[in-house]
């Protein structure tokens, strides 16, 4: 594991040239106005206490309402009950309220809110409203592009509620948490752009942590990822998430992600010129 981190750090320091289309976190930038992004996120995480893998399928649709505001809806499907089962869904909005851009660089800050519902059983202390818990989250994201290295960080408050109708949130667990992330992204190919059809390859390194506010129990994960962009419109992410540290009960912290992502530009028709 140390080797993987080392290799990634060396790659980042060699040449600063990056992207911010992260795998497990969102940047402060939004999808373009009037564009629709469809993402099919799949994850396979190894169960720690029983044999087998925990498969999650998370289709999501993101729409840019205007240049600063985007909305997203997601569905959560998992095999935890031994067959594919629709467990819940989620709504999210992100508002970019600060931007300073320069040639090949920018600094942006966005605020976001998310509400999710889920009817699955609650089986761990980790609070995760993306696919596990009913609840809400509010946070802030700052993303900096320096020359061509993208660095993004977020801080959020996450509140878990009961998973209706059958699974109340256990009273012995802390039901709210602080989440923090730090992500790096770098473009490794091409060295020089020729056209829109050229495949782009990005390397990402992301850190995601959580602290349960009531009892201070925490975890920190690292996720290295490789990302391919085809035709400047379609994206495939392959990522491996691994726990670095944890003092809380988590049932399946280590696993892989495969994301398929496609952007439909200007879906609401050709805009008329105001002039």
């Amino acid at each position: 594991m140390k080797k993987i981190v080392f290799v990634f750090l060396v790659l980042f320091l060699q040449r600063l040239n990056a992207q911010e289309l992260f795998v497990i976190t969102d940047p402060a930038s939004n999808v373009p106005a009037k564009s629709l992004a469809v993402n099919l996120m799949q994850s396979m995480f190894k169960e720690q206490f029983v044999s087998g893998y925990n498969y999650h399928l998370m289709p999501e649709i993101t729409y840019g309402l205007n240049k600063n505001l985007m909305v997203r809806t997601s569905a959560f499907v998992s095999n935890r009950s031994n067959q594919l089962y629709l467990e819940g869904g989620s709504f999210m909005a992100k508002y970019r309220f600060y931007s300073t851009d320069d040639l090949n660089s920018h600094f942006r800050i966005a605020a976001y809110g998310r509400y999710s519902f889920n009817r699955a059983d609650i089986h761990q202390e980790q609070i995760e409203i993306l696919g596990h818990n009913t609840g809400y989250e509010a946070g802030i994201i700052a993303t900096k592009l320096i020359k061509k290295l993208a660095i993004s960080s977020s801080l959020s408050y996450e509140q878990a509620l009961d998973n209706h109708p059958d699974h109340d949130f256990p009273a012995s667990f802390g039901n709210n948490a602080t989440n923090y992330t730090l992500s790096f992204g770098r473009l490794v190919y091409p060295k020089k752009y020729k056209n829109f059809k050229q495949t782009n390859i990005n390397l990402m390194l992301e850190f995601a942590g959580q602290t349960i506010n009531e009892n201070g129990k925490s975890f920190l994960d690292i996720t290295p990822a490789v990302q391919f962009i085809f035709n400047s419109q379609a994206r495939i992410d392959l990522a491996y998430r691994r726990e670095i540290y944890s003092s809380m009960l988590r049932t399946a912290p280590n696993g892989v992600y495969i994301n398929l992502y496609y952007t439909f530009f200007n879906v609401t028709g050709k805009a008329t010129v105001k002039e």
Partner: protein
């Protein structure tokens, strides 16, 4: 009765005046070159390209992905102004860092105020837009100091464009 005729005449006069103003102020841009800021990825450039494509009057777009420069050839008789391009780039999630226009006979266009240089060639003039939103933040701050004696420049009036002649 007389008053009604007077009002009608006045309305006619206003309409004629308005039409005249509109006709005069229509730009005859033949080509624009814009450089977008805040991006380094081809997917981001593609988002801008797709936005620019939706502008009626756009004939051809050439993109330099390494500098994020879009050279847009415009159809004859188009009535576009730089504002629509700026709005489209911002819709894609980015900003304009440089905006250069090639136009025919700038002297006939009263929505362009030359504040730097002099138009020599009446047939084809190349100029750079100096208003807020058409320069990088740093360049705009410098320009505000440089052109502080030009009263209309600092007002950030969206209808007029303050320009520097390049040829």
């Amino acid at each position: 009765m007389n008053q009604n005729i007077k009002i009608a005449n006045l309305k006619g006069l206003f309409t004629a005046f308005f039409l005249l103003c509109t006709m005069i102020s229509k730009a005859q841009m033949s080509k624009i070159e814009l450089q977008a800021t805040g991006l380094t990825c081809s997917m981001c450039s593609n988002a801008i390209y797709k936005q620019l494509e939706t502008i009626p009057g756009v004939e051809k777009i050439d993109t330099d992905l390494n500098t994020n420069t879009f050279t847009v050839a415009l159809k004859q008789g188009n009535e576009l102004t730089p504002r629509v391009f700026k709005e489209k780039v911002e819709k894609a999630g980015f900003f304009v860092g440089s905006f250069i226009v090639t136009t025919t006979d700038i002297s006939k266009q009263n929505n362009y105020i030359i504040i730097d240089g002099k138009a020599k060639n009446q047939k084809a003039t190349k100029f750079k837009v100096l208003d807020k939103g058409y320069l990088t933040d740093k360049e705009y701050k410098k320009a505000v100091k440089n052109y502080k004696e030009i009263a209309s420049y600092s007002k950030e009036n969206e209808a007029d464009f303050h320009v520097k002649v390049l040829n």
